[in-house]
């Protein structure tokens, strides 16, 4: 299959683009069906709360350590860059505001979402594809149980409950990293840093933060589930499904992240 794809690239990149578009349009249709069915069951309150709680634990609690570590180092690197630039222009008092604004509106939600896409999205795609290949999904259908109701709804509820928590946690760790860097590199006290944060951040920033977290959670769950539920074949296809789930989730997430940022940007402060 890879050889055929390589031949295609040589023959015409347009053919490959056409393939990619066909797959993309097909996937959008599958995601659309999963979204419609999920909200149908949620609106009718047909929710398995026990399974949703189990999924929330898996998606949220089990991601805490890795989100903490990545947020700490992302926060340290980003703060170092910002602090060194602002110090050159004598803008030490603005460090807290700039760091917190970047964290709350961009870095916090996206860092948590990338980790969830990599850890949870890949796991969901692998699990559902394996269930499909081993006829477990067919078994559910024969028992007249909709796989979306049984498998997608609890994962969606779990992710929606935990993603904002992970985002806030990611933001808090990043902010802590910023405070440490500001103190060590620019001798900015914690008090000055936090004053700058308070004077810069407004309620709207938190709304954007939660909006982005919720959208990111939905993208990861819907794309991973749609890919998992619609992939058949063998062991190789499980690998392909995992790759597709992570790549598509992240691509769509970054595009939507830009659109939300553009729509909610209210001008310079």
């Amino acid at each position: 299959m890879q050889a055929a794809q390589a031949k295609k690239i040589v023959a015409s990149p347009f053919l490959l683009f056409e393939d990619w578009m066909t797959v993309g349009v097909g996937l959008c249709g599958q995601v659309g069906i999963v979204i419609a069915k999920t909200f149908y069951y949620i609106l009718r309150m047909q929710i398995d709360w026990q399974e949703s709680l189990r999924q929330a634990y898996f998606i949220g609690v089990k991601s805490f350590l890795v989100v903490g570590i990545t947020s700490l180092f992302t926060g340290l690197a980003m703060s170092l860059q910002i602090v060194m630039q602002l110090v050159q222009f004598g803008g030490e008092s603005a460090i807290g505001g700039v760091v917190s604004l970047a964290l709350i509106r961009q870095i916090g939600p996206i860092t948590a979402a990338i980790i969830v896409a990599g850890r949870v999205g890949s796991s969901i795609a692998a699990e559902l594809t394996t269930m499909n290949i081993s006829e477990q999904i067919d078994a559910l259908k024969v028992m007249r149980i909709d796989p979306v109701k049984f498998l997608v709804v609890p994962r969606f509820i779990g992710a929606m409950a935990m993603m904002p928590v992970l985002s806030i946690y990611s933001m808090a760790i990043g902010l802590l990293a910023g405070m440490i860097i500001a103190q060590v590199v620019a001798d900015v006290s914690f008090g000055v840093f936090l004053d700058s944060v308070k004077s810069t951040i407004i309620d709207q920033d938190f709304y954007v933060h939660f909006l982005k977290s919720a959208i990111n959670a939905a993208i990861v769950i819907f794309y991973s589930c749609a890919i998992g539920l619609n992939t058949r074949g063998g062991a190789e296809d499980v690998g392909h499904a995992v790759t597709r789930a992570v790549v598509w989730s992240m691509t769509v997430m970054f595009i939507v992240n830009y659109v939300v940022t553009d729509l909610t940007y209210e001008g310079p402060r």
Binding site: M131, E135, Q136, D138, A139, L140, K141, V142, R144
Partner: protein
């Protein structure tokens, strides 16, 4: 009762089923036999509704269908009890009644001691028996078996065949078994249909297969290379 009329199905332009018709009566077990790729499993998936036919009609006298999958298809994240409870959840029974039915069915297949085990903790034969218990938990009027003895050792195959015969006697359901295991279709079925290349090429009682002059069933039953079914050399 299962009534299949003029069934047709294609995949990617290749016609897998070409005008297949048959009936299965309550209390009867029909064996769908034939070489790999002849359309047996596709027919079963069309009957269960997992696939839509391109043309033709399937009439079932009951919505309650029990299906034993080739690979058991138990949900690995659930215990044996939860797997069976899942099949019962449409009926919204009280917990005590649900547990009674589950234990009764597991006792029937000799797995009452494994009620709280996960499928991955069971052997292949035990998983297959759990799949049996799940298929019959709602007392279905239609029971379908997709290659129930494939991959099992001869002793376990005989045990599974015995379960099939016993269940048939108890449920009095219309049954279809898809298989290419000689002992399975000759022991469990009242009638057999041999499929080749998407069409029915022989129909009769398993006992008549060896005596038939039909070249397809002679080749299939005697498992010889010579005949109309397979061409080519290694």
């Amino acid at each position: 009762m299962i009534s299949v009329r003029n069934l047709r199905k294609s995949f990617n332009g290749r016609e897998v089923l070409k005008d297949v018709s048959f009936d299965v009566w309550p209390g009867e077990m029909l064996a769908l036999i034939g070489p790999s790729g002849c359309g047996k499993s596709t027919t079963l998936k069309l009957i269960t509704g997992l696939l839509e036919p391109d043309d033709g009609e399937i009439v079932l006298n009951s919505k309650e269908i029990g299906l034993v999958f080739q690979g058991s298809a138990l949900l690995n994240s659930l215990t044996v009890r939860e797997n069976l409870a899942l099949a019962l959840r449409e009926r919204k029974l009280p917990k005590r009644e649900q547990d009674r039915i589950i234990m009764e069915d597991l006792t029937l297949v000799g797995l009452a001691d494994y009620v709280d085990s996960f499928p991955t903790q069971l052997s292949g034969g035990q998983q297959k028996r759990t799949s049996f218990a799940r298929a019959i938990v709602n007392d279905p009027k239609i029971v379908l078996y997709d290659e129930p003895t494939t991959g099992l050792d001869p002793v376990m195959s005989t045990i599974i065949e015995d379960y099939m015969i016993e269940l048939e006697n108890q449920l009095h359901a219309a049954g279809i078994v898809v298989t290419h295991q000689f002992s399975t279709w000759t022991r469990t079925a009242h009638r057999a249909i041999l499929m080749h290349d998407g069409v029915i090429v022989w129909e009769g009682k398993p006992d008549d297969a060896m005596r038939s002059s039909n070249p397809y069933i002679v080749q299939f039953a005697k498992a010889t290379k010579d005949g109309p079914m397979l061409t080519g050399t290694i």
